[in-house]
């Protein structure tokens, strides 16, 4: 486990020094803070505007950061042959993948936490000093679980594919995952579309189950199922992705 932690921290250290990551973080914080300015475009719905923009900024900018980090982490190690010197030490291939995954998660969640902090400040200002709605903390928890799941998919893809392929497929996963309920509702008109929709529903993750915005905006109480189910879903999906990553990476030649 110590090898995993060592690789994880090295990955985190390398990730947070990437300039592109800082740029995205700044954009995200600008977007969150800017909601105080642009809320005037939604008269009467200022609270909704601030919450919507804030939560979506945290989610989408974090996903972008996850793609940009996750897509290069392993392919770059292979390309630059850093991997050779690491695997020449008593480090298992599974440990290497797990370390990369944890380091990437740490970097992405660290950035998401900074964005969440900016959002909390903006939210408290918007609510004129009232305490944070606990549902917002639950939403942040679910966003973290969603990000971890998404990173595990990126890491799995990067164990066998090039950076460009990982980038393209990751964006497709975001689109499919964010519209998962839509695909379930479409009636299949032919056997081909039936197979396609079945495939999408079976393989693509459902990111919509991680969304609590409706409960937050209506100040409704959050049912425990809305928390437990996505958390278990994320844990299981992530475990499967990591297991597949180990299997694929174990058989690869470098």
């Amino acid at each position: 486990m110590r090898e995993v932690v060592t690789i994880g921290f090295a990955t985190f250290g390398e990730a947070i020094r990437r300039r592109i990551l800082v740029i995205f973080l700044l954009f995200a914080i600008l977007s969150i803070v800017g909601s105080q300015v642009f809320k005037t475009f939604s008269p009467g719905e200022e609270d909704k505007f601030v919450v919507d923009l804030g939560l979506n900024s945290i989610k989408w900018f974090s996903m972008l950061i996850a793609i940009l980090l996750g897509a290069v982490m392993i392919p770059q190690e292979i390309e630059r042959k850093t991997l050779h010197t690491v695997l020449a030490k008593p480090v298992g291939r599974g440990q290497f993948v797990l370390g990369k995954f944890l380091g990437t998660c740490l970097a992405v969640l660290f950035n998401a936490a900074l964005m969440a902090l900016a959002f909390a400040v903006v939210y408290v200002i918007q609510q004129k000093g009232q305490n944070l709605d606990p549902a917002l903390l639950l939403q942040f928890l679910l966003t973290c679980a969603e990000l971890v799941l998404f990173i595990s998919i990126i890491i799995f893809l990067s164990t066998f594919a090039s950076t460009v392929f990982v980038l393209v497929v990751s964006f497709c996963v975001i689109v499919l995952g964010s519209t998962a309920n839509f695909w379930k509702q479409i009636p299949a008109e032919s056997w081909i579309s039936q197979v396609v929709f079945l495939g999408i529903n079976a393989l693509a993750p459902n990111f919509e189950i991680f969304d609590l915005s409706r409960a937050i905006l209506t100040h409704a109480s959050v049912s425990p199922d809305l928390i437990y189910y996505p958390m278990v879903y994320s844990a299981m999906y992530t475990s499967i992705m990591l297991l597949l990553s180990f299997v694929v990476f174990n058989e690869r030649e470098f």
Binding site: T6, K81, T82, L87, A88, P90, F254
Partner: protein
């Protein structure tokens, strides 16, 4: 490239986190009687697009014994790096077997006792030289003071102690190579695999690495050295394998692989002009550097006649004897023979004991020296 003064730091290290393996012992001949590194019919084909294949290594048989410096030499594309990758388990053989310290290549127990210096290493750019060494030390289970002391010792050993804080992105190629060497030695390995270790180094840096390799052998380490720089290899290694297009052309002790030529070389100083002229007439070639004459005598010329000329002129006979071919000559000969359709290795294994280094036939400091 400026460097720290050569360090006389011991090559041995503090305890590294190793799995207890009381049954495994390295002796002069190998691990539990087996060679330290063993390749048996090792072959590797790389698959290309459209079903094409490239045979990078073909049926390599190889044994490296404990405490020797073994070199795999050959031009680019001869299969040197492929062999190292197979030994480290980075790629899988198409046929044959490889063993490192008696274990399969991907054994973590074996890797605890192995160091690897790749050609043109690349490390995390945000880490300093010291942090890189510590990173690899942590991967090997070193912690706390042991790790700190080991990193200090190794950075001094490779001449990087004054530049330990320079981050990799600002390091020259030579500095990165030195850090790579320190990182490879951090776990005090019994076996060190080196793939072109002097790549990117200036002549002084290359000599320091060469001296370090010799010191590693003196410390009882086994070194597998892959290089195409034949002169460097010739100076340090005990046994070699010559590879060409994935095939082993020659294998054994240097003293057995390098043939003795028919030419006789005579080196003398303080010769009179008359004596020099006489010797030149007996020679195929003659050179003079700062009062020292070097003659390659004609095959039909008598060696003792030449010696008499030196003595009668009052000159100083520095050395005389047969010339042994260089490794470069042997390599070219092997390749030419292979191209001409010669089958089988040029030379086979050179007996049980590692050769005690290169021994020139030329009578230097004794023998036929005056």
């Amino acid at each position: 490239m400026a460097s720290d003064p050569p360090a006389e730091t011991a090559v041995a290290a503090p305890q590294v986190d190793r799995e207890p393996s009381p049954s495994t012992q390295i002796s002069g001949s190998g691990v539990n009687g087996r060679p330290v590194i063993e390749c048996i019919g090792l072959s590797k084909c790389y698959r290309l697009a459209l079903g094409y294949e490239v045979e990078a290594l073909s049926g390599l048989d190889l044994e490296v014994r404990a405490g020797e410096i073994f070199a795999i030499v050959g031009p680019n594309g001869s299969g040197k790096t492929t062999t190292v990758k197979l030994l480290l388990g980075l790629i899988f053989p198409t046929a044959g077997e490889a063993y490192l310290l008696g274990e399969p290549p991907r054994s973590r127990r074996a890797k605890r006792r192995v160091g690897f210096v790749p050609e043109g290493p690349f490390f995390y750019q945000h880490l300093s030289g010291e942090e890189v060494v510590r990173f690899y030390g942590r991967l090997c289970g070193l912690r706390g003071r042991d790790l700190r002391d080991r990193a200090d010792e190794l950075l001094k050993l490779v001449g990087m102690s004054n530049r330990r804080d320079v981050v990799m992105s600002q390091c020259s190629k030579g500095m990165v190579q030195r850090v790579g060497l320190a990182a490879a030695l951090v776990n005090d390995p019994d076996v060190i695999l080196m793939d072109e270790p002097t790549s990117g180094l200036d002549p002084i840096g290359a000599k320091e690495i060469k001296d370090l390799i010799v010191r590693l052998r003196e410390a009882g380490k086994t070194v597998l050295l892959c290089s195409h720089l034949l002169e460097q290899v010739e100076e340090v290694c005990d046994r070699i394998a010559i590879l060409h297009r994935g095939r082993r052309l020659a294998y054994g002790a240097l003293s057995e692989i390098l043939r003795v030529k028919d030419d006789t070389e005579l080196v003398a100083a303080d010769l009179t002009d008359e004596a020099a002229a006489k010797l030149t007439s007996l020679s195929d070639s003659a050179e003079m550097h700062g009062g020292t004459h070097r003659f390659i005598l004609k095959p039909e010329s008598g060696m003792f006649d030449a010696i008499d000329i030196v003595r009668s002129s009052g000159g100083q006979l520095l050395s005389v004897g047969r010339i042994r071919e260089s490794l470069e000559d042997a390599f070219i000969r092997s390749v030419m023979q292979s191209a001409a359709g010669a089958t089988g290795p040029v030379s086979t294994d050179a007996g049980d004991a590692p050769a005690p280094g290169r021994q020139r036939e030329r009578a230097e400091n004794g023998g036929e020296t005056a």
